[in-house]
């Protein structure tokens, strides 16, 4: 997120999901789309069926590879060299869009200089991808328009996630593949409403609509709207919050719908941290592993029991409608927070319901200004939607970028080693993945049929690695990292390259995130769960 916001001025998908169907070439990097975004994957497959080219870059031979023209199987953590290598080819062969670079972009020279270190010999050595494939991919991407890039956690959940993201925006800017239909950079948001949670200010440094807490005019605006004095110090990010709990500077924690015991990288650290706080409230729909640790547990409703809106990965604000009455005594999260606020003499929490809350959101948020329940009743709207008669925005950056200067910014990049490296003791790289049949764990693990389809955690391992270790399909093994160990069943498969193993993290019985690494990307503060050194031992 942090990456695209600096280079393009917005951290969201530049295009609409259905526009992928119209792309002439799609580069899918660090996304196991058929598992994580099945409906986006349908668009990609349709595009291929209608003749567009598909380049897949992934350490694993994922399902989507079946539809790809080229599959670049790069080593985990080498996205920057791979993409920079492609860009070097594009420049050398003069396939870049000079007039676009000239009229719409800035900082090209510094970027161009930074390509010096990425000669194809070096790139091949770092990524493990043969040069001719890189050249071929570069040519296809640069010569077919419109071109779309899609990416997901495979790009962001790295210690150098921000660099990875900037590499994708460099590539799009270099070829002028942005600001047009079917042409852009598209981070696929994982959860149903991550986009919305960010849009409405659940981030430590910004209010709604990415308005920075540190800017005095913004602070004044919210102070007068809310009628209270506000802090201009950005707060702690999610992972830093757990550090602060661990160190004791945070004593009180209020967790809504989250299960860090399973989902947090380096989960045992997060669990220890939560045990240390004086008072923890968990608001959720089930008694999760995290809720067990709480002092008070408050029952929340599910999406089927409340009215509201979600904003999907393509910035589409859509109405969620109450289908059934709350189960038991469960209450909507907004109601609970308002009740607490009133007891703490908070002003401005007398909402009659979600519609009135949306009115306040749009009054304070330029990109949501034109959005109201009355309009949403007629159909969804994609932000930015600045006025009540604005139709919404299917693709971004048509005339100018959202940066201060209005220009797309090239970013010089350099190769940095993954946060964690293998050694004699931990010779394999573990990367985390997701299953089509589960979403994190809390919800899908309680759907009987989904657990029949994917019933347990499996360690995917290359046949040669398996035979080297003397382990067989179906055998239980122990996976050990510098942080923890878990027992898991082996699945021998060549979808993983030699030296790389993978697991999901949907199963409480096999808490994969005990192994992963919470070393953070310096900018986005996203943990590097995609690269973690492990060893596998027979049991």
């Amino acid at each position: 997120m942090a990456g695209l916001a600096t280079s393009l001025g917005s951290g969201s998908m530049t295009n609409t999901i259905s526009e992928l169907g119209g792309a002439s070439v799609i580069l899918a990097i660090g996304t196991n789309t058929t598992a994580t975004h099945p409906i986006v994957a349908l668009q990609v497959k349709n595009a291929v069926r209608n003749g567009s080219k598909l380049i897949v870059a992934n350490p694993k031979e994922i399902e989507l590879c079946k539809f790809a023209d080229i599959f670049l199987q790069h080593k985990p953590g080498t996205d920057v060299p791979l993409l920079m290598g492609m860009m070097r080819v594009i420049l050398e062969e003069e396939l870049h869009d000079k007039s676009f670079i000239q009229s719409r972009c800035e900082d090209f020279d510094a970027f161009e200089k930074s390509l010096a270190e990425f000669d194809l010999d070096t790139v091949e050595k770092l990524t493990g991808v043969p040069q001719d494939k890189i050249i071929k991919a570069a040519r296809i991407y640069a010569t077919q328009t419109p071109a779309s890039i899609i990416y997901c956690m495979g790009i962001t959940q790295h210690v150098h996630g921000t660099d990875n993201v900037l590499a994708t925006s460099n590539l799009a800017l270099l070829t002028g593949n942005i600001g047009k239909p079917s042409s852009g950079v598209n981070p696929l948001r994982g959860q149903n409403n991550v986009q919305g949670a960010c849009d409405v200010g659940c981030l430590p440094n910004v209010y709604t609509g990415y308005q920075a807490v540190a800017i005095p005019e913004i602070k004044n605006k919210f102070e007068s709207a809310w009628g209270v004095a506000l802090s201009d110090t950005p707060g702690l990010t999610h992972t830093k919050i757990f550090d602060a709990c661990y160190e004791g500077s945070i004593s009180t924690l209020y967790l809504v719908g989250e299960n860090p015991v399973l989902s947090e990288a380096d989960a045992s650290h997060a669990t220890e941290a939560m045990k240390k706080v004086d008072f923890m409230v968990v608001q959720d729909i089930f008694m999760t592993e995290t809720a067990e640790l709480a002092d008070v547990v408050l029952p929340a409703v599910t999406f089927a029991e409340e009215d509201g809106t979600f904003t999907n990965t393509e910035r589409r604000v859509q109405r969620v409608r109450k289908a059934i009455d709350p189960v038991g005594d469960a209450k909507p999260d907004w109601w609970i927070a308002c009740e607490l606020a009133k007891r703490l003499n908070g002003k401005g929490f007398e909402f009659s319901g979600p519609e009135e809350i949306m009115e306040e959101i749009s009054s304070l948020t330029p990109a949501y200004k034109g959005i109201s329940y009355a309009r949403l009743e007629k159909g969804s709207l994609q932000w930015p939607c600045p006025t009540t008669d604005h139709p919404g925005t299917p693709f971004l950056h048509a005339e100018k970028f959202g940066t201060d200067s209005g220009k797309g910014k090239f970013k010089p990049l350099t190769y940095r080693k993954p946060g964690e490296e293998t050694d004699g003791e931990f010779p394999l790289i573990l990367t985390t993945d997701r299953s089509l049949y589960h979403f994190h764990s809390t919800m899908t693990r309680r759907v009987y049929g989904l657990n029949v389809l994917a019933k347990e955690e499996l360690l995917n391992i290359h046949p040669e690695d398996a035979s080297g270790l003397g382990v067989e399909n179906g055998q239980m093994v122990k996976v050990v990292s510098r942080r923890g160990e878990v027992a898991v069943k082996v699945k021998v498969t060549d979808i993983c390259p030699l030296g790389t193993v993978s697991m999901t993290f949907h199963f409480a019985e096999t808490p994969t995130n005990l192994l992963t690494c919470c070393e953070l990307d310096p900018v986005a503060k996203t943990p590097g769960t995609k690269v973690c050194a492990v060893r596998v031992e027979g049991l």
């Binding site: 409906i39 986006v40 349709n46 997901c152 962001t156 696929l188 959860q191 149903n192 949670a197 409405v200 200010g201 981030l203 430590p204 809310w226 209270v228 950005p234 707060g235 702690l236 990010t237 999610h238 004593s251 924690l253 719908g257 989250e258 729909i285 408050l298 599910t302 999406f303 089927a304 029991e305 809106t309 979600f310 999907n312 990965t313 393509e314 589409r316 604000v317 859509q318 109405r319 969620v320 289908a323 009455d325 038991g328 469960a330 907004w334 308002c338 009740e339 007891r343 703490l344 929490f349 959101i361 089509l436 979403f439 919800m443 899908t444 309680r446 009987y448 049929g449 989904l450 389809l453």
Partner: protein
């Protein structure tokens, strides 16, 4: 596409777009031509041979209307004694092998085969003679979400084409030949062993009762909403009965998914009414959770929060809940607790 073509169907003058088939044109006009293998999302195959029509003029012939494009000046008759006789024979062959316990079938009253039979009519005696097979083929109930009953299958191939053309999965195909033809996973294995992704798109399109959802219950009313799993944000129509969710289908009017769903969206709603749901506030006393009233729990939380305002406090909200919930939570952290220590769980 805008080119208009004029033709006559059953004496009625009809306009159509170039490239449309006779069947599409007739159906759009409200003229029913019996059919089973046609589906508007899929390429025509002309497998069921029920949609025969007579074309007069310079083309005089009997043709399959789902594969014949309209042309200017065409004169089409959808009903002639000759055509009906041909349709009857085709239909009787189909029904001869088909289970007829319609009342126990989920598709009862919605079934395309019932509609064809109703329109075409069957000759009972001929049908009796045709009824050859008494042995029932086993039902494939290996998938946890749906069953396949070959005794109700009409071999229209809509499921096979859905899986191929729409899903690009190719989990199923026609197996065997002649009388033994059936739909099956690769190598005639049960579905669970195929590469089926359980998206359910084939069930939705099955025109008869061959592919059906397990434990299906008809909803009493439906509510239009959005799937709560991934960031695709598919439009979802939830079916409700007795204050419980009993079904889900894709919302064709949603630009995000145009009616399509994945396995989680179509079947994953079942967590909502799971018996494990938390139903009342709980307060931990001496290491054990004890049920509490809302007022008691809220008073306790508010009281403790009041002593820990500022940077000692942090809230983490959820990328699963609504914008409105999240807005109020961040406002609570900032305006009431006096801190910007607010984040959500997924940093992508």
């Amino acid at each position: 596409m805008a080119d208009k073509i004029e033709l006559t169907i059953n004496g009625q003058s009809v306009k159509a777009d170039k490239g449309m088939t006779i069947l599409e044109t007739a159906l759009r006009k409200g003229i029913y031509i019996p059919h089973l293998c046609h589906h508007h999302d899929l390429d025509p195959v002309g497998a069921c041979r029920l949609c025969l029509v007579e074309i007069a003029g310079k083309w005089t012939k009997i043709a399959i209307s789902c594969k014949t494009e309209v042309q200017d000046g065409m004169v089409v008759r959808t009903e002639t004694p000759e055509i009906n006789e041909m349709r009857q024979v085709t239909l009787e062959l189909l029904i001869a092998d088909h289970d007829t316990d319609c009342l126990a079938c989920e598709q009862n009253t919605k079934c395309a085969l019932q509609r064809v039979a109703d329109h075409v009519g069957v000759n009972k005696e001929r049908l009796q003679r045709l009824k050859s097979r008494e042995v029932k083929a086993p039902i494939d109930d290996s998938n946890p979400f749906f069953n396949f009953d070959p005794n109700r299958c009409v071999l229209c191939g809509i499921c096979v084409r859905t899986c191929d053309e729409l899903q690009n999965v190719q989990a199923i195909d026609f197996a065997n030949r002649g009388l033994g033809t059936k739909i099956a996973g690769f190598g005639d294995k049960p579905r669970i062993e195929s590469n089926c992704e359980s998206c359910g798109e084939c069930i939705v399109r099955c025109p008869v009762g061959a592919l059906t959802e397990k434990d299906y219950m008809k909803p009493t009313h439906q509510v239009k909403t959005v799937c709560s799993f991934c960031g695709c944000g598919c439009g979802l129509i939830l079916g409700v009965r007795d204050n419980r969710l009993v079904s889900a289908r894709g919302d064709v009017s949603s630009p995000a998914n145009k009616g399509r769903l994945c396995v989680k969206g179509r079947f994953g709603y079942k967590f909502v009414n799971h018996p494990d749901r938390l139903t009342s506030p709980l307060i931990k006393r001496n290491g054990e959770f004890v049920k509490a009233e809302w007022d008691e729990a809220l008073d306790l939380v508010a009281d403790t929060f009041s002593k820990n305002k500022g940077e000692k406090f942090a809230a983490i909200s959820s990328a699963k809940t609504t914008n409105e919930d999240n807005y109020v939570l961040q406002k609570f952290a900032r305006a009431v607790m006096g801190t910007n220590n607010i984040d959500h769980c997924a940093r992508l």
